[in-house]
Subunit: 282 residues, 2 copies
Amino acid sequence: MERKKIAIVGVGLIGGSLAIQLHEKKISSRLIGVDSSKIHQQQAMDRELVDEIMELENAIASSDVIILAIPVDTLVKLLPGVLNKVDKQIVIDLGSTKSQSINAVKDHPKRGRYVATHPMWGTEYSGPQAAVRGAYENKAVIICNADESDADALEWTKAMYKKIGMRLLEMEAKAHDLHAAYVSHISHITSFALANTVLEKEKEQQAIFELASAGFESTVRLAKSNPAMWVPIFMQNKENVLDVLNEHIEQLKKFRETIEKGNKEGLKELIEDANKIRRIIK
Amino acid sequence: MERKKIAIVGVGLIGGSLAIQLHEKKISSRLIGVDSSKIHQQQAMDRELVDEIMELENAIASSDVIILAIPVDTLVKLLPGVLNKVDKQIVIDLGSTKSQSINAVKDHPKRGRYVATHPMWGTEYSGPQAAVRGAYENKAVIICNADESDADALEWTKAMYKKIGMRLLEMEAKAHDLHAAYVSHISHITSFALANTVLEKEKEQQAIFELASAGFESTVRLAKSNPAMWVPIFMQNKENVLDVLNEHIEQLKKFRETIEKGNKEGLKELIEDANKIRRIIK
């Protein structure tokens, strides 16, 4: 794989962790960082996540590949303008929702240069300081509406993800957004709401601190996630998220009802149903 | 600490993992296993979790300490009969709820021999095969209504937990059951309900399997937990669990409302509130 000059737009958790991989796996010859935050620019340079910082326009002109690792609301606004400025460059986004960004450029003359992807990796932390080595490895990456991308752009993008150890899947944007609501977005809402429940009801913070078990930490971990990333995801994927959220509230009400009624058999059945997740997760 | 003959009643995840620690930390001179399941008896012997298997009555007569690691419904039924048979032995339970077991023997002439504890450790697996080394270390253990236990029984129990590396806390049973609802029981309900939500709505199990991120696995992990353990916990701690569950459903409805209305600012505030869990968890 010939090394390329790569611009990373958004050098936070997602972009910064990818930058580390692009360098370590010898995919990049040079890494250019773009970020609207001066503090993040400085942190990305201090940690040597990128070789230099540029303004977006210069970064596009100076790169072979432009990777957009920014919140999905900013992405939808920025993407048409980025495609306006590209010639033969490849533009890849890493957003957690896919329909709106793809729709935003579906008739753009440079649509073919854009590859819409969602690598299924993240942590509850954010910013350049949260970037880690070894990210993305052994996880799935979904490429959406692959047939709308130019063959060379698609091929390079796939080769890049393979080289950092990801499993490739292809999907239409609509199907992606539906599945993402189930396997990612609802988990975050559950976790945020759980944190608020406990913080609201449990006034003795010392008790939470002392008693919190590994189970609690595991379910509430995602509640530390960044609103700048998640508000736009929930808003863009509103219909699917509401659909799954309504179902989740119904499921919780079933637990409430069996407990209220002292219906042990019914509660046992609900838990046995839930245990079937074993078939899927590990 | 003088080594003692210890009977473990219930040689599954909780009792089996404790047996490993009691042996490795040189707290036990001999370990006697009691279990109603022939399969678990055999597995506990095969894994050498205990030295021998006995019936409960013989085990009580042959031991200095009897540790009850059984579901909390069985515990409440069994505990008075166990105390009927003890002389100078110490009886310790490890149940996740504390009010009912303590109430069941509060006027028992041998009440002093009983120490009610809840070590805050567990995994989503169950049975002797799930027992692991190094369990309980660096976790909290709550001793409830300590003043109702005889001084020697309390002292030995504390020394045992310290020797396996646990942090000791004392609490009244009522307060324990309230806090446990917040920091443990609600997490399990959330996780069970999340699994049911996804299994109900997401008919393409292959999609869950392929796309499930670390975040999803983390929030849904507890959904693999055993109904034999959890049904009695939820039933015994019904009032507290329902109270927290109602609050949790209200919190989820707040997320639903802001997303439905496209209220970005409101959604951001809910997430920022949830982020405050950072102050408490790591």
